[in-house]
Subunit: 723 residues, 2 copies
């Protein structure tokens, strides 16, 4: 790509961005769109506008975003979002501090070296303007390489310093959230798994109660045995579905009264498959009848589930945060594979079906999943290739004869023929995050946030390996396979020469990502259109409208992996082609600004893990840093620079830094430190409420006289410590 | 070594064993020797003979050993000794079960194969009788090799089965000991390290108390801040030394009254260097005066130590076992490198000087020690070579001129010249265990038992690498270095041919170890002679006599490493030369019998770690098993047997077995499970006694009004849980 094409691409992206910005300014001021642009504020019962007044200034949101504090973010969107901003700020700071030294020093050093230029002008054509500013332009064994060696150290040291500060800061954020005087249900509970079979004549519940009452005679509150809810969930969802449909039918009926016919038209529906076939009935009557039929069925099933479908897992509640925190860290049983404990996640993020999974089953599932992920990352092209080979037009015609008339048209046929393989790839890439999340849940992970973290990690390695390494190494390898065959040692020098060539590609990539990606993000064009379409043609009840504008959460798994790809690219090119740094700065600066707006006004977090995402972010930044250090060392080494050895301590330093950081901070992210949990609460916790918040909706009967839900407090023997 | 030499060596060893056995029978029946042969029983206040009656049967001890139960061992010598017998029994059972199949099957299979014999008779000379019974005697790609493949699996499966049972059994032993209703001081305490600097205006003690009182308002009892005791220990030891010397002087004086002179001779001593120079004084007066001088000095130093030499480490006592067990496993501080906790070891095995060592200092020390051990294991010949090169006779003459007349004698000179290098090696090997223990303590390990385990591990790797691998591989490598140079691939086949050759060497080695080693062990000739010499010429007081027969403990560090060397040798040769199995059986059978006697009657354990040695034993057996599996696979592979691949799953199976075992059992050996700690005590623990038992002797003043030792109970705020 030459310089002109690069500028054109940059310009186009920028124009799209400006257009989207204006769209945002215009659309977000229409009251009908408030639910799309301010859902988080609306759901929290706040006025869409800060302070309640609507300004005429189209850039007010920027001022608001800039003036918002970290505690605003925590209040509106939780610790996890605040941690995401720590990540953005840290990367931004690393890039700015690196740029301050690298841009004014390295660019002139590279540009004024003419040794390579003169040597290569004849053989490979002249360097373009961008390449002239990169390390590739510096001659072999030139003393100018010293500047690049120093720059490599500078970037690394800046990164260490800022990462250390960030880790400490996040740890404090987590501590502040955990020691808050608010009562949080999950801080009083632990999850118990792998409960051995109950002894003869004891129910599962009695077994769990007596076990924990013996160990915690004073602080044990009560237990909740996990049940197999598959059946009851099914009935519950059917019932809820009928309730929704009834509300919808009633709304339609009420509306029909207003328009023309004063008596209204009673809505009808068919009761067969998908509402397309079968007998036609009066909807309101039919749904009412169904609800009356399912309500006792649900109650009966609830009783059966609670009594007979108990699983070898339980939630145990304590009267004190310290005991719960300490219990979640302690070994309870002599055999480590029984009575395993972990701290309870929030009720909403519990993955109930994973709780009863057995110890070794979880282990084996984990290894199997790792193998599948490994294969997916390295050989994902194979199934896609097979699918696209299989989905040729000929096969399509054979298998789905009714497509014949369409496919036989010559124009369409050419287009399909050309795009079928790409279509397979696009579908695969779109489904990948969901597939990885599914795999992570299949590992037996008990909470949504944990599964998200696991999926995000898998997605990161997929992205970095396939996009970053794939583009640079892949293009080189395929382009010059014969040369490598002749001399295997030439691979290093080939890589080194190909790295700067890919720089322009990645510059465009980053620019596209921030201009078009962030433009779409802020303007929310897609959710806006979907919302208006749904409201107009589908939604009849208030609940349905609310569902239509539900904003969802930040989507850490894919968002963070995308950011990390940019981090990896920018870091690896920071010294080789420092011109990439401003692009990185804009990406993370703009990202910070936009997402501040989105987090404060749009997205509603679907869980809170108190910053447990951070150690994973930190680790992946360190992986990127290591990749960067090794790349540069290899690259400068190829330039036949004898002092490249000076760069060898850097990766070792990184590993030491990583280990020290993990030693100092990590365990607090796995468990709750007791000194944090022992802080006073602002009120005596209502443990009944704590307990109830963990009851799954399908089981929470209105009546409370059930045997599982009877007040267990009376059972707790309150023997004081006799000393 | 031919067969005749082998038999001669075996015969000689056996004769020595028989002589030592008779010596034991004769000597142990003399009442004057009871303190050497029955010290453990005497120290426990029991009669030397079981049931109090002296039998005339010289083999009564065998009957006693065989009829003793595991609980006898635990009662007389603790769980650690019982675990050592589990180790011996397990190995014995593995060897017996292996031998039952291997001996009747493999020996005939090997002996009746004539293919190699005929081929090799001309080139390498005939096989001797022993070699004929080994795998080396089977021809290449013979179907007879199937028997050896099956045998390899058999030994492994037997080992897995028995190790699993043993691990479970030891885990139960540990649980039984930990849940015993006896009050054990260490179960109520935790060790706290890395305490951050106290806040302004607070003493260290106040800081520790307030920290733990906040977290454990109901179960915190009191704390003991660790102090720098170097100075007070020095004064205390001097004082104790003078007390001993005074007792000795008084005993000498009393004795002198009996013999001849009715007024007695007052003993005199010189007060200069080593009692050899300086003024002569009356001993009794002099020591009395010294004691009077040091007693107030000690008291003053105790006060200063307690007040001013507080270190950032403490022992914290709780009123309940469960809380102590749970506290030792929980993360207390947000920063993992502060307020680190671990369960307290027994008071007698605390290494006080290691407690205040800082978190990262310990980490660094550990890595440094690992590097030193690695270098010691692989390059220990270098310093020894240097020393022996340096300590030639010429150098000796130059440096120590007074040795000239001795060294100049031609006979002596020759002997010295020949033995000086060996002497250096022997001294090195004798000092090695002490050096490794010193290194382990230098890591910053806080308890003696842990340091012993660490030293034992280091010694194991040293022994296996240098003796086993050294002898087999070393001899092969040096003997045929030129052949390897020509064809590097020949190293595997060379190894394979050299392994059976070393078999005879190791047979003799094992036989020597059990006949001579165990003979010396049982007869206790050396301790007996030392005791009698000391009693006759040195000991004057009762305390001195008692010290002279103090038996010491089993010496796990070296004993276990020695056993493991035999395990490794026997396992590795079990299939190659099955004739070694009976030797292994005798070694462990005889060892079990003898040590049962020694443990019940002689050795007094110096600490109790409740079986924490076991996971290390288990791991090393697994290492030996892996070594065995890889050796056999390589060996059969060299025989050009195409089905050798069948052996490849074995090492993988071993690793899986190891991981599963560790997952299931290991954590309980690191910490105390709460279900074990929550068992009831037979009495309400006297926490004052618990606390006092941890006060080091140099600090335990008679008076109790000291600020550290004041009753902390009154300070504990007893706020009940308000729910």
């Amino acid at each position: 790509m030459d310089f002109k094409a690069f500028l054109t691409s940059l310009g186009t992206s920028f124009v799209i961005f400006v257009v989207l910005m204006f769209l945002f300014t215009w659309l977000s001021r229409k009251p009908a769109n408030y639910v799309v642009y301010y859902p988080n504020r609306i759901l929290k019962g706040l006025d869409p506008f800060e302070g309640g007044k609507r300004t005429r200034n189209p850039f007010a949101w920027i001022r608001e975003a800039l003036s918002s504090t970290e505690s605003d973010v925590i209040r509106m969107s939780g610790v996890d979002s605040a941690v995401y901003f720590v990540f953005l700020t840290t990367i931004l700071a690393i890039l700015v501090l690196s740029g301050l030294l690298l841009l004014p020093v390295l660019l002139p050093v590279a540009a004024t070296d003419h040794s390579v230029l003169s040597a290569n002008e004849t053989s490979q054509g002249s360097f373009n303007d961008l390449d002239r500013l990169s390390l590739g332009h510096v001659g072999a064994n030139s003393p100018r390489l010293w500047a690049f060696v120093v720059a490599t150290y500078w970037v690394s040291l800046v990164a260490y310093f800022l990462l250390w500060k960030a880790y400490k800061h996040v740890s404090d954020l987590r501590a502040a959230a955990l020691e808050s005087p608010e009562v949080k249900a999950e801080q009083f509970a632990i999850v118990v798994r792998d409960i051995p079979p109950p002894p003869e004549g004891q129910t599962r519940k009695e077994q769990v109660d007596s076990y924990f009452k013996t160990i915690y005679p004073e602080t044990f509150y009560r237990s909740m045995v996990v049940t197999d809810n598959a059946e009851v969930n099914k009935i519950y969802e059917e019932l809820e579905g009928y309730k929704k449909k009834l509300a919808r039918a009633e709304a339609i009926y009420a509306e029909s009264k207003k328009t023309g016919n004063p008596e209204g038209t009673r809505p009808m529906n068919k009761i067969g498959f998908l509402g397309l076939f079968g007998q036609k009935v009066d909807s309101i009557e039919y749904y009412n009848q169904k609800i009356n039929e399912f309500t006792p069925k649900l109650e009966a099933e609830q009783k059966v589930t609670l009594r007979e479908k108990q699983q070898p897992s339980a939630l145990v509640f304590f009267t004190s945060r310290v005991t719960a925190a300490s219990a979640s860290q302690s070994l309870h049983a002599q055999m480590v594979d029984t009575w395993t404990v972990l701290d309870a996640p929030e009720p909403r993020q519990l993955i109930w079906t994973n709780l009863p999974k057995k110890f070794y089953e979880r282990e084996i599932r984990q290894y199997v999943v790792y193998i599948i992920v490994f294969l997916t990352i390295f050989f994902y092209m194979i199934p896609i290739g097979l699918i696209s080979a299989f989905t040729t037009l000929e096969n399509l015609k054979k298998l789905l004869p009714f497509t014949k008339p369409i496919v036989n048209q010559p124009v369409l046929s050419t287009v399909l023929q050309a795009y079928l393989p790409q279509l397979a790839l696009i579908i695969f890439l779109a489904l990948l995050p969901k597939f990885l999340l599914f795999l992570s849940k299949a590992e037996g992970i008990p909470s949504e946030s944990h599964a998200t973290r696991a999926a995000s990690g898998k997605y990161f390695y997929f992205t970095v390996l396939n996009v970053f390494i794939g583009v640079t190494v892949g293009s080189t390898l395929f382009g010059t396979f014969k040369e490598i065959e002749k001399d295997p040692n030439s691979i290093v020098s080939l890589l080194a020469t190909s790295l700067p060539k890919s720089a322009t590609f990645f510059l465009t990539f980053v620019a596209l990502k921030f201009f078009v990606g962030y433009g779409l993000e802020l303007s929310r064009i897609v959710p806006l259109i979907i919302y208006h379409l749904k409201r107009k043609y589908l939604c009849k009840t208030e609940a349905e409208v609310k569902e239509a504008w539900a904003p969802g959460d930040l989507g850490y798994a894919t968002r963070f992996a995308g950011d990390m790809l940019i981090v990896t690219i920018v870091l690896c090119y920071s010294v080789i082609a420092p011109i990439i740094i401003p692009f990185g700065v804009v990406y993370f600066g703009l990202g910070w600004l936009l997402l501040r707006n989105q987090v404060l006004k749009v997205y509603v977090p679907s869980f809170e893990s108190y910053g447990r995402m951070w150690p994973h972010m930190y680790m992946r930044i360190m992986v990127a840093l290591l990749l960067y250090q090794v790349t540069i060392a290899g690259f400068i080494g190829v330039k036949k620079f004898p002092y490249t050895v000076i760069l060898i301590p850097l990766p070792i330093l990184s590993v030491i830094f990583f280990v020290v950081c993990e030693k100092k901070f990590y365990r607090f992210f796995q468990t709750t430190a007791l000194e944090v949990a022992c802080k006073e609460l602002k009120e005596i916790p209502n443990l009944e409420v704590v307990f109830r918040s963990f009851v799954p909706p399908s089981l929470s009967a209105e009546k409370t006289d059930d045997d599982q839900f009877e007040d267990a407090l009376s059972q707790v023997s309150r023997t004081g410590s006799t000393l």
